[in-house]
């Protein structure tokens, strides 16, 4: 297939490195610690599942990893480059070229068809039309939605929408895909299918996945398991499939 696989030779390379991340919010006169002094490294090809109770800081953590938010202190390195000194424009460039995002409620653009939603990140990068068409077709085939390419999001089921979102996250050949509760709005069977898909893409294209979930059932997909509790991060055991590949 035409995407992702070119990175396979760097499996195990340090793509993302978070050092001493702290994120606080001021709520009235109080300071809420959403994250405290968190260190985290994602290697190329990892499949990380992040667990933790509600309000423990999972979303906050993911937001910092996807550079849509900045930490109160600490630093996120992407490919060894510090991000705190980068401009909004530079971070936007990182997001559109190297980071894929999957949301809990799919967040597709309602006025665009499935194919157009998948095409959107390529439009942002001003890729030529033939290339866009080719990649969109490849990704839709990959997630098994070639037949539904012209449907609008409201004409798709939840599972189908999330598969479109996954195709969108992968279309520009990112190094890493970050997913916040991708199965929370799906029934358990559809959720499993979505997780299967992500796991397969991870293995075939060695794109790093970091998946946040409440769902214990999802945890069994973990190559590496991480727990966040009260803003602190604890490394757990995964079933070692991807992490051990180095």
């Amino acid at each position: 297939m035409g995407f992702g696989s070119r990175f396979c030779h760097v499996r195990g390379a340090k793509f993302l490195d978070a050092q001493r991340l702290t994120k606080t919010y001021r709520v009235g006169s109080e300071t809420v610690y959403a994250l405290r002094d968190v260190n985290f490294v994602a290697l190329q090809g990892d499949f990380v599942v992040i667990n933790g109770p509600s309000g423990s800081g999972k979303t906050t953590f993911l937001n910092l990893m996807s550079v849509i938010d900045r930490p109160t202190s600490g630093e996120v390195f992407i490919e060894s480059q510090p991000t705190s000194t980068q401009s909004e424009g530079q971070l936007a460039y990182l997001r559109k070229t190297k980071i894929g995002l999957v949301f809990q409620s799919f967040n597709l653009i309602p006025v665009l068809s499935a194919a157009e939603n998948v095409e959107y990140p390529l439009l942002l990068q001003r890729r030529p039309k033939p290339e866009r068409q080719e990649r969109v077709a490849a990704l839709l085939a990959e997630v098994g939605l070639s037949d539904l390419a012209r449907r609008r999001p409201n004409e798709l089921s939840g599972g189908q929408r999330q598969r479109v979102a996954i195709a969108r996250a992968l279309v520009s050949g990112p190094m890493i895909v970050l997913a916040d509760e991708p199965t929370a709005n799906l029934d358990s069977k559809t959720g499993e299918a979505v997780m299967d898909l992500m796991r397969r893409l991870n293995e075939e294209h060695c794109v790093t996945f970091i998946v946040v979930t409440h769902d214990p059932a999802v945890s069994r997909y973990a190559g590496r398991r991480v727990r966040i509790h009260d803003g602190r991060l604890e490394e757990g055991e995964g079933n070692g499939v991807a992490a051990s590949a180095s």
Binding site: I68, R95, N107, Y120, L123
Partner: protein, 403 residues
């Protein structure tokens, strides 16, 4: 980013978009209609002004500046000839005629009235009131002591064709003179004041009475109104270089009424445009703010996917640009329809101070249609600036948290 997303986004809330389009279109249409109406009135007044004054008049600068002393402003036959030779060279020149105006007292034996007598060349092709005759006829080349009087004056003094009147005046040397005139015709004219004051007499006879061979002005007719100003400036330059003490005035300079009216119309239209723009501005501002607010999470999403703030601004601004272009275009079409319908109905109106009913109409050209179009376009685009800027400034994380 292409046109697809903005245009489709516009269509996602069809009813709201149609409402916005209706507001813009209606504003544009009303503005266009009023402009067309004012333009038509202005045009009609322009036509009648040119009919009354000619395209240009040439006279001594003293006359134009009101710095006359007796009859020291009269134009000599030599200067008239000089001017005629200059006019021969103008491509748009249609004809010219000389006039000699003088104040006088008109007496009927029972009543006396102050008049403004105008000595004209009978049957001249430029300024001839013969076509306005309601009784009798206009002046003819063979006429001498003949008078062509206005309807209001005739009614007031009970004059009819054949009546003999006495006109008393001062000659250029300051002596009194008087002569009987025979009324050969009665004219009507749109201006009541004019009808009451102006009495036409043959130029040659007027010159004899005033004891002069001069005239006070030369009235010039051109083939196009637009030629008035260029011809005037060429004439002014030519007259200056050969030392002829004459100056041209264009028809709009000559008619203070037209000038006032034109600027009044402009002010009226500017005020209306402003009022409509403000209305359109605030309505569209409100609607677009709401529309963008509803899409907060979507904005968060596209930002998270790597869309820059500038691109978000561009997306939302081009959405409003579509609205602006569509709405204003529809408005021009609607306005044109209104104008056509109005002209078809043909409402009659009697303006104050006039005697003739005239048919109300509206008149639009591409040039005039551009103004309301541009005004609505700009008002809508301006109203989009703030919401689009707000949309682009949303904080990504916060925007994503909105349900």
């Amino acid at each position: 980013m292409g046109w697809r997303l903005p245009l489709r986004s516009l269509w996602r809330n069809r009813r709201r978009t149609l409402l916005s389009l209706a507001v813009i279109a209606l504003g544009t249409a009303v503005s266009l209609f009023v402009l067309g109406f004012l333009e038509n009135s202005r045009f009609q007044i322009q036509e009648s002004t040119v009919q009354e004054y000619g395209n240009l008049q040439v006279a001594s600068p003293k006359l134009w500046k009101n710095e006359t002393d007796g009859y020291d402003y009269l134009v000599s036959p030599r200067d008239v000839a000089r001017l005629a030779s200059l006019l021969e060279m103008e491509p748009g020149f249609r004809g010219s005629t000389s006039e000699l105006q003088f104040p006088g007292l008109l007496g009927t034996g029972r009543e006396t009235q102050v008049i403004r007598a105008i000595g004209i060349e009978p049957e001249n092709p430029v300024l001839d009131f013969a076509e306005h005759a309601v009784a009798g006829r206009g002046l003819q080349l063979s006429d001498t002591a003949s008078a062509f009087v206005g309807r209001t004056l005739a009614e007031r003094l009970s004059l009819s064709v054949g009546s003999v009147i006495m006109v008393t005046l001062t000659t250029v040397n300051g002596a009194y003179n008087a002569s009987p005139f025979t009324v050969v015709g009665i004219y009507k004219y749109s201006n009541e004041q004019f009808e009451q004051q102006v009495v036409f007499v043959p130029l040659a006879f007027a010159q004899r009475l005033l004891n002069t061979d001069g005239v006070d002005r030369i009235v010039i007719s051109l083939d196009r109104i637009e030629a008035s100003n260029p011809v005037a400036s060429r004439l002014a330059a030519a007259l200056q270089t050969d030392g002829t003490h004459l100056a041209p005035r264009t028809w709009d300079d000559l008619s203070p009424f037209y000038r006032q009216l034109a600027s009044y119309f402009n002010a009226l239209f500017a005020f209306l445009s402003l009022a409509i723009s403000i209305l359109v501005f605030f309505i569209i501002l409100q609607v677009q703010t709401l529309a963008f607010l509803e899409r907060t999470r979507e904005i968060g999403t596209i930002r998270a996917l790597g869309t820059t703030q500038r691109e978000v601004f561009g997306l939302f601004f081009s959405e409003s640009a579509w609205l602006a272009v569509l709405g204003s275009s529809m408005g021009v079409a609607l306005g044109a329809l209104l104008v056509a319908a109005f002209n078809a109905v043909g409402i009659q109106w009697l303006p104050p101070g006039t005697i003739e009913k005239f048919t109300l109409g509206a008149r639009i050209e591409v040039k005039t249609a551009l103004v309301p179009f541009a005004v609505s376009l700009v008002a809508t685009l301006l109203s989009a600036l703030y919401p689009a800027a707000q949309a682009s400034r949303l904080r990504v994380v916060e925007a994503l948290r909105i349900e």
